[in-house]
C-alpha cells in the first residue's frame, strides 16, 4: 500500500473544485485513459487583471492524481496567469505534504495541465506530441519532456525519471535511451546542488554541520576503520577529534582539510576546522 500523507488522503476523499467550467477561458488537457491517468483543467480568467478567478478539474486516475489535481486548482485561484506558471510540480507535491516517489508523475501531470491551459489562454497551439522524439512508447513520453522534467527536478537516474514521467516503467525497452539522455544532460553540468543557505542561525549551523559530518564524512572514514567526532562548534570554528585508524595517521592533516572543504562548500565559506589538542 502507498504511504500517502494525511493531506493526500483527505484531499482525495474530499477533493475541491471538481467539475467543468462551461464558459472557461482556458482548458488544459493532459494524459490519456490508456496511460492510466488524465487531467482536464478549466480556468476562468479575469480579462482586465489577468487573474484566475475560478479553477475546476476532472481527473481519471489514482488517489494521488486526484489529490494533485485538487491541490493545483486551490493553488492557482487568485493568482495571475504569470504567477500561476511559477508553480512547479514540486510545489504541488509540497502542498500535499509530499507524494511517494513513485507517484511524483501525478504532480508533473498537474504542472503540465497548467501549462497546457495557459497556452490555450494565450492562443498558442498546444505543443504537438508528434514533433517530439518519442522515447517511451508505453507511456507516450518524448525526449523533450524527459529533459524538461529532469532539469526542473534535478533528476539523475532512470528510476527517478520513471517516477516523475513514467518513462521506462513499461516494457523497459527505452531505458538505454533514457540513460543516454541523462548522460548527455548532466555530463558537462552536474545537477545544481541545493544553494548554500544564505543566513544561518547558530542553531541551524550546528545542526547542519552535525548532519554533514554524520552523513557525508563519517561513512567514508569508517570504511577505512577510522572515525571523527565533533568536540565543539564555536562560531565558525569547528573542533574535531580523529578516532580509530585516523589517530596519528600521517594523512590526518589532509583529512582535516577535506572536512573543512566539505563544510565550506555546504555551510559557509569561513568555516575553520581544527583538531582537538
Amino acid at each position: 500500500m502507498w504511504e500517502y500523507t494525511d493531506k493526500v488522503k483527505e484531499t482525495f476523499l474530499k477533493p475541491k473544485n471538481v467539475g467543468e467550467i462551461p464558459d472557461a477561458d482556458a482548458v488544459g488537457e493532459v494524459g490519456s485513459i490508456i496511460c492510466g491517468d488524465a487531467l482536464k483543467l478549466f480556468l476562468k480568467i479575469d480579462k482586465g487583471s489577468g487573474r484566475i478567478i475560478d479553477a475546476k478539474f476532472q481527473t481519471f486516475g489514482c488517489a494521488s492524481a486526484i489529490a494533485s489535481s485538487s491541490a493545483l486548482t486551490e493553488m492557482v485561484k487568485g493568482k495571475t496567469v504569470d504567477e500561476a506558471l511559477e508553480i512547479s510540480n514540486q510545489d504541488i507535491a509540497d502542498f500535499l505534504g509530499g507524494l511517494p516517489d513513485q507517484k511524483m508523475h501525478c504532480s508533473v501531470m498537474g504542472r503540465e495541465a497548467l501549462e497546457a491551459a495557459v497556452a490555450n489562454y494565450k492562443g498558442e497551439k498546444p505543443p504537438e506530441k508528434e514533433e517530439g522524439n518519442l522515447i517511451c512508447k508505453c507511456f507516450d513520453v518524448t525526449e523533450e519532456k524527459i529533459r524538461k522534467v529532469a532539469v526542473e527536478n534535478h533528476l539523475t537516474t532512470v528510476d527517478e525519471i520513471t517516477n516523475f514521467t513514467k518513462a521506462g516503467g513499461g516494457c523497459g525497452e527505452c531505458i538505454p535511451n533514457i540513460e543516454a539522455i541523462l548522460r548527455d544532460l548532466w555530463s558537462f553540468k552536474p545537477p545544481e546542488k541545493p544553494a548554500k543557505p544564505k543566513k544561518l542561525t547558530n542553531l541551524h549551523k550546528i545542526a547542519l554541520i552535525q548532519e554533514i559530518i554524520e552523513n557525508e564524512i563519517r561513512p567514508g572514514l569508517q570504511a577505512d576503520n577510522g572515525d571523527v567526532e565533533i568536540i565543539d562548534i564555536e562560531g565558525n570554528r569547528v573542533t574535531v577529534a580523529l578516532r580509530g585508524m585516523c589517530t596519528g595517521c600521517l594523512m590526518a592533516d589532509v583529512t582535516i582539510k577535506g572536512i573543512q572543504d566539505k563544510l565550506r562548500e555546504l555551510v559557509s565559506d569561513d568555516i575553520v576546522v581544527e583538531t582537538y589538542q
Binding site: 476523499l13 490508456i34 491517468d37 488524465a38 487531467l39 481527473t59 488517489a63 492524481a65
Partner: protein, 392 residues
C-alpha cells in the same frame, strides 16, 4: 470500522481450528522432529499425520507430499527440477497469465538460454489449447499451467491437458495455489506429475507450502542440505505450520462442496447487483469455468486504486489490476493478455470470498459500491456522455 475482508485470493484468515491445533507446537512442544529424544522425535509422528491429511485432500499418497516454505518455492522447485532432470531438453511451456512465481522463473530460464513458450489466452481468459499442443516438441522438458487463475478465477482444463501430455511423455506441473481447497482435486484420476499449493490461501499459516511429486517422477531438489523430506527439501520442518496445514486441509475437505455452493451464491449476488448498479460495468473472465469465490469486475472510466481507497474508508478490502496498485506502472498482465481494453483494465476490481464471508458483508458492498463509482465518475473526464449511476 469493521473489516469486510474480500481479498481471500491474496491471503486468508487462519481458521480458529487451525490455530488451536498449532498452539501446542508454538509453545511447549518446540522440539525438532529429527531428534533422537522423545521430546523432539514425537513430533515426527505429528508431521506425518499432517502429511496424510494434505495427501487425503488431494487424493495423493503421503510420500508424494513435500512440505516447502511457500507456493512460490513449490513452483520454482517444480520448474527447476524438470529442467535439471532432463538436461538435454531446453524448452519449457507455460502461459501468459501465470502467477509471477512461475512466469518470472521461466523468464529467468529464458535469460539462461532456454526456449520458453508463453501460451496465449482469449478474451475470456481461456487457453489456446491448439497453440499449446502445437508448441510441444521433443525438447520440451515441462509444461507448467496453473489450475485456476488468481486474478479472474478462471479454471483451466488441466485434466485434459495432462492426459494429452502424458500420451506424449511430457512432464506436467500445475500451480494449484488458488484451486486447492476451493474445488475438488483428485490426483488419483488426474495425471499431474507435480502440483503446488500454499497454506495461507486455505486458512493455514503463511510460510508453508506443498509440492506434490507423483511417485516415479524424477526429482531434483531445490533447497539442498539435510535429509528432511526424504532428501527432497532440506531445512528443519516448520512443525507448527505443517500441523496447521494438515488441519486446514482436513477442514477444506470437509467443507468443500457446501462452501462452493455458498460462495457461488454470494458471488453471483454481488456480481448481479454491481452489473445492474451502473452502466459500463463488465465481468472479466469465463464465468462458466471459474472458482466459486472469485469475481473480477471492471468499472470503466474510473481507476482501480481510487476505488480501493474509497472502499478502504468503509473497511472493505479488495484488490485491483490497475497500474497504480501493481507496484509497477503496468496494469495486470492477466487482463492485458486477455485483450481487455485499457479503459476496463485500469478500473478492474477483484473480490475474492471465503467461508467466513457473510451475506451481510456482501449486502454492505452492494450498498456502498454504486456511490463510490458515481462519485469517481463525476470526477472523471471520460464517459461523461453516458448515463451515470441512477441516484438511490
Amino acid at each position: 470500522v469493521n473489516t469486510i475482508y474480500l481479498d481471500n485470493n491474496a491471503t486468508t484468515r487462519i481458521a480458529p481450528e487451525v490455530l488451536e491445533e498449532m498452539m501446542p507446537y508454538l509453545t511447549d512442544l518446540y522440539g525438532n522432529p529429527s531428534s533422537m529424544h522423545t521430546f523432539g522425535g514425537q513430533l515426527h509422528r505429528k508431521v506425518e499425520e499432517a502429511r496424510g491429511k494434505v495427501a487425503s485432500l488431494l487424493g495423493a499418497e503421503p510420500e508424494e507430499i513435500i512440505f516447502t516454505s511457500c507456493g512460490t518455492e513449490s513452483d520454482n522447485a517444480a520448474v527447476l527440477s524438470a529442467v535439471e532432470s532432463f538436461p538435454r531438453k531446453k524448452h519449457v511451456i507455460t502461459t501468459r497469465v501465470e502467477h509471477p512465481a512461475v512466469l518470472n522463473f521461466c523468464r529467468h530460464l529464458a535469460r539462461k538460454g532456454y526456449r520458453v513458450t508463453f501460451v496465449p489466452v482469449n478474451h475470456l481468459g481461456q487457453l489456446d489449447l491448439d497453440f499449446l499442443f502445437k508448441s510441444v516438441d521433443d525438447e520440451t522438458a515441462l509444461v507448467s499451467i496453473m489450475y485456476a487463475n488468481n486474478e479472474t478465477g478462471v479454471i483451466f482444463p488441466v485434466a485434459e491437458i495432462a492426459e494429452r501430455l502424458k500420451e506424449r511423455g511430457v512432464l506436467f506441473h500445475t500451480d494449484a495455489v488458488q484451486a486447492a481447497g476451493k474445488i475438488p482435486i483428485d490426483l488419483k484420476s488426474l495425471p499431474f506429475d507435480m502440483l503446488s499449493l500454499s497454506g495461507h490461501k486455505l486458512h493455514a499459516q503463511k510460510g508453508i507450502g506443498v509440492l506434490y511429486v507423483r511417485k516415479g517422477t524424477r526429482f531434483s531438489p531445490f533447497v539442498i542440505g539435510g535429509h528432511q523430506e526424504r532428501g527432497r527439501r532440506a531445512g528443519t520442518e516448520n512443525v507448527p505450520s505443517i500441523i496447521g496445514l494438515g488441519k486446514a486441509c482436513e477442514l477444506a475437505g470437509a467443507y468443500i462442496h457446501k462452501e462452493a455452493t455458498y460462495l457461488k451464491g454470494l458471488c453471483d449476488k454481488l456480481e448481479t447487483a454491481l452489473l445492474n448498479c451502473c452502466p459500463d460495468v463488465r465481468i472479466n473472465g469465463d464465468v462458466e469455468n471459474r472458482l466459486p469465490n472469485t469475481t473480477n469486475i471492471s468499472f470503466e472510466y474510473v481507476e482501480g486504486e481510487a476505488i480501493l481507497l474509497r472502499l478502504n474508508e468503509f473497511g472493505i478490502c479488495a484488490s485491483s489490476g490497475s497500474a497504480c496498485t501493481s507496484g509497477s506502472l503496468e496494469p495486470s498482465h492477466v487482463l492485458r493478455a486477455m485483450g481487455i481494453p485499457y479503459t476496463a483494465v485500469h478500473g478492474s476490481i477483484r473480490f475474492s470470498l471465503s467461508r467466513y464471508t457473510t451475506q451481510q458483508e456482501i449486502d454492505r458492498v452492494i450498498e456502498i459500491m454504486p456511490g463510490i463509482i458515481r462519485e469517481l465518475r463525476e470526477l472523471s473526464p471520460f464517459g461523461r456522455e453516458k448515463f451515470f449511476c441512477p441516484p438511490e
